[in-house]
Structure formats: structure tokens, C-alpha cells
């Protein structure tokens, strides 16, 4: 006598079990282990190769400044694009960050009767930390992406090869001017962001918290020390270096047509932003050791 057909749910359940056994047997087989190890091996080698390529790339970009030909016109053009072009976003983000800092710190400090030192808190935080980091991230978002996409498009349309064929070194012509423009402009943009951050804090303190403006600005000024300023102005030099080298590196190693350009752009923004924060962490540790807080 034939057994009655299984209900649909039982059939699906047994199919699931069968698939589960198949997958587990595959993943525990020696072949699967070898494949997994191969994948890890490939990934590790790729990472090491990328770090090596990046190191050589950035070394060449820096060293090109010390040997002719130097493309000063391209340096000025890039300074205009990176520096002048980023002023609006840097000023706005600096102003509102300073404002938020003033709002938050005043609320907390007032609990201890110390709302008078809001100015000191905002200026120190902006100059030592938030000014350089926020400016770096804003400029990375705007310019690392633009460098990666511009150079990436040039790679996939053979314009980089054409440049080389015409006897011009793309590293000297495209990368080195961007690198030094980015470093120098980020330095000045950070100063602007700091200034507008303190101004934003002052605006919130006076207009929204109804505190004394003179007190805010005198506290902001009097408690600033040279080590604070040094900390704040050394960091953008490294951030500028990271933004330009990572942006250009991903642009120049673009493969895979327009899709590849998109991938390079994303990688450039993600890696430069993460590296800015990581580098900021390391720099803060080093600078705090060199200039210990009083």
C-alpha cells in the first residue's frame, strides 16, 4: 500500500535539512578549508600589496616636489579648487559645531555653576580637536571624492596613458600639485573653521543662552596656550596629506570602467575619513606626550 503524500510543510522541512547537511558537509571538508585559506591568503596579500603600492605612490608624490619639472600653475588651480571651493562647507560646519558645543557645554557646566567657562571649553575643543578633524572630514568628502573620480575617469578613458605618451609624468602633473595644494589649503581652512567655530559658540552664548559675550571671548582667548594651537595646526598637515594621497591613489589605480570609478570614489572617501580619525588619535597621543596638559 502506497504511503500518503507528505504535507507541503514537511516536504520543505526535509528539503531544508538536506540542504543544511549538504552545506555543513561541504564547509567541513578539506577542500572547503583549502578554499577558505586561499581566500584569506589572497586577501592578506592584496592588503600588503595595496599598502606597499600606496607607500611608493605617496613617496613619489612628495619627492617630485624636489626635482623639476614643477607645475606651479596646476598647484594654484588645485589650491583654488580645494581651498576656495571648500570655504563655504568648512565655515558652515565650523560655525554650527561651535554653536552645538556652546549649547551642550553650557547646559552641563551650569549644573556646576561654571557656565562662565563656556568660551574656554569651546575654543580649546575647536582648536585642538574638532576644527582639524571636522575640516579634514569635510574636505575629504568633497575633495578626495573629486580627486578619485577625476583621475579615475582619466584612467579609464586612457587620458593618463595619453599624457604619458606625450612625455608628461602624470604623477608630477596631476598628483603632486594636488598633494601640496591640499596640505597648504587644509591648514588655512582649519584656521577659518576654528575661528568660525568660536564665533558660532559666541553667537549661541549671547543670543540663545543670554550670557555675556565679552566674558565668553575673554575666556576663549585667555586660556589658550601655544601647545593648543600647535596641536590644532599640525593635524591638518597630516590630514591634507592623507586626503590627497588616498584620493589620488584610488583614482590612479581605477579599473573596470565607470563602475570602477564609482568604487574608487567610495573607497577614497571612506579610507581617507577613517584614516583622518585614526591619525588624529595617534597625533593626539603623541602631542599630549610632548605637551602635557597643565
Amino acid at each position: 500500500m502506497a504511503s500518503p503524500p507528505l504535507p507541503a510543510s514537511c516536504a520543505i522541512l526535509s528539503l531544508h535539512r538536506l540542504l543544511f547537511r549538504r552545506v555543513t558537509s561541504l564547509s567541513s571538508s578539506p577542500a572547503a578549508h583549502t578554499m577558505a585559506l586561499d581566500a584569506i591568503d589572497r586577501t592578506a596579500k592584496n592588503i600588503v600589496l595595496t599598502v606597499q603600492d600606496y607607500s611608493l605612490f605617496s613617496y613619489r608624490a612628495v619627492m617630485n616636489l624636489f626635482h623639476p619639472p614643477r607645475y606651479w600653475t596646476d598647484f594654484l588651480i588645485q589650491s583654488n579648487i580645494i581651498g576656495v571651493g571648500s570655504i563655504a562647507i568648512v565655515l558652515l560646519s565650523g560655525f554650527f559645531t561651535g554653536g552645538v558645543l556652546a549649547l551642550q557645554s553650557a547646559a552641563t557646566l551650569s549644573q556646576f555653576g561654571a557656565s562662565a567657562i563656556t568660551g574656554r571649553f569651546v575654543s580649546t575643543t575647536m582648536i585642538r580637536e574638532l576644527g582639524p578633524v571636522l575640516t579634514g572630514i569635510m574636505v575629504a568628502g568633497r575633495n578626495a571624492s573629486s580627486m578619485a573620480s577625476e583621475l579615475g575617469s582619466m584612467v579609464v578613458t586612457e587620458q593618463i596613458d595619453a599624457m604619458r605618451a606625450l612625455g608628461v609624468d602624470p604623477m608630477r602633473k596631476l598628483v603632486t600639485p594636488r598633494l601640496f595644494a591640499c596640505i597648504s589649503m587644509l591648514f588655512f581652512l582649519t584656521i577659518l573653521a576654528d575661528a568660525f567655530g568660536i564665533a558660532g559658540g559666541g553667537f549661541v552664548t549671547v543670543v540663545m543662552n543670554h550670557q555675556n559675550g565679552t566674558q565668553y571671548f575673554s575666556m576663549a582667548w585667555e586660556h589658550l596656550r601655544y601647545p593648543d594651537i600647535i596641536q590644532g595646526l599640525v593635524k591638518p598637515l597630516f590630514s591634507g596629506y592623507l586626503i590627497a594621497t588616498i584620493g589620488c591613489f584610488y583614482g590612479m589605480k581605477t579599473t573596470g570602467g565607470t563602475e570602477g570609478v564609482g568604487r574608487s570614489t567610495i573607497d577614497a572617501v571612506v579610507f581617507s575619513s577613517v584614516m583622518i580619525i585614526f591619525c588624529d588619535f595617534l597625533m593626539t597621543q603623541v602631542l599630549l606626550t610632548l605637551f602635557p596638559p597643565i
Partner: protein
Amino acid sequence: MIETPSASYPDPQDSGPAQATDSSPVVAFQNVCLRFDGPPVLLDVSFSIAPRETRILLGPAGVGKSVLLKLINGLLRPDQGSILLFGQEIAAMSEERLFPLRTRTGMVFQEGALFDSLTVRDNVAYQLIQERVPDDEIDARVHQALKFVELDQTFGFYPGDLSGGMRRRVAIARALIHRPELILYDSPTGGLDPITSTTIIELVMKQRDVYRTPSILVTHRLQDAFTLCSHRFDLDQGRMVPLPKGESDPNTTFLMLEEGRMIFDGSIHELIHTENKFVREFLE
């Protein structure tokens, strides 16, 4: 109608490098191999380009024709073998030392590879601008080069304003403005309509017959290859004219690649009568 070069381009007698009397090859490949990640792209490739010779590199898509062209001026490096360019070994030459050699060659890329942020004038004059040639001289030479390719009216245009065929012709003008000693054409007629293709082949022929510049032309269009062999550029008429029946240009010869191997190197006569099965299939 193409203008006569005497009116639109420097006197052929002035184009010094192309008048070279030295009989040593301009380019010589010896057992060149190249591999990327997968199977070999080029395997044991040997050939040479003599002064005043035009070589037509045939082969289906993806056999390594463009790669071979990029090896000639050092844009790519071989894994093995020797490459002589103007008598100098470039296989292991540093990029810095390659730049001066590359300025002696002109290259026309597959899609033109014009710099899209620069005007036609700045594209064509790119090399001259880097050499800080005075602006007046640059303008005069750009006009000459653009007249040669019949595109003088595009002087102030951007590449985005041009059609595909016009871009290739601007790319040819850019490659020729420096009076190169060797020209590399990478599928200059690929993806173009027959009329535009003929115009471009006529320009290649004009450069070959008037200025005697050695060159290598990559193509998979047999029609272009045979037109180059069976016609010559008539300076008086300002256009190409067919050679007498049964004759072909003695300085135009063929190379053929199949899966990275050089399977044919010879004249049009040898090409037509070859017994090689792949070549025969390709021709048919």
C-alpha cells in the same frame, strides 16, 4: 577635399626625423612575453619596423594588439624579451628616461583619449605647452595641424562638442604636431562609419606618403588595411588615388596576432596566399 600639405602643414623636407637615412629598425621586438593575471597576453613576439615602413597589425578583438602598441613606447613593460625603440633598449628603462623617448613618438588612442577639460587647441598643443613654446608659435602650429586633419574650425571647441570621427582626427593632429619619428595608431577607425573611416585612412596614408613617417596601425577592419596597401596619396590632387592594378605599396606590410602569438609577418601578397588556417579564416 583635403588641402595639400604644402599649404596646411610644414614642408615635407623640413620634417627631419622622418627623413632618416639610417636603415636600422625604428622598433625591434625580440621574444617579448607579457602576462597579466590570466593566460599570457603576448607570447614570444618578435618583429621590427624599418624606417619609412608602415606595419598593419591585424587580429580579432582581445588578442593583444593594443597591448603590443603600448609596449612599443613603454606604457607597459614586458615580463620577458627585448624591445628596442630608436635603438635603445626600453624593456627595463625607468619611466623618467622613457619620457624623452616618448616625445619622439606620436600615439593615436582607440577612442582619441582627448583631455576633456581642455579645448581642442590645448589638446593638440599639449606637448608644446609643456615645452613652454611661445603662444603665437603654438597657435600657428595648431592651426597647421588642424588644417591637416580638416578641422581648423574646431580650434576653440571642447572635445565634448565633437563627434567620434572628429575626436579621432583631433587625436591624429595631436600625435602629429610634434613631427614624430614613429606613429602608433590604435584602431583609429574602430566604431566609425565607412565615410569617416576612409577620411581617417586617407590621413594615415598622407602621413605615410608625404612625410614618410614609419608607423604601426592596429585594426581589425580588413577594408582599411587593403585600402592603405592599394592606394597612395597624390599630393597634386590632394587625395588618395588607387595604385595600378596588381601593385601595392611596398612599404606597407602586415602582422597578425592570434591569442598572443605573432602568426604572420609579411607583405600583402604573402598574406593573401598564406596557407595559415587562422589567417585564411580571418580574411574570409
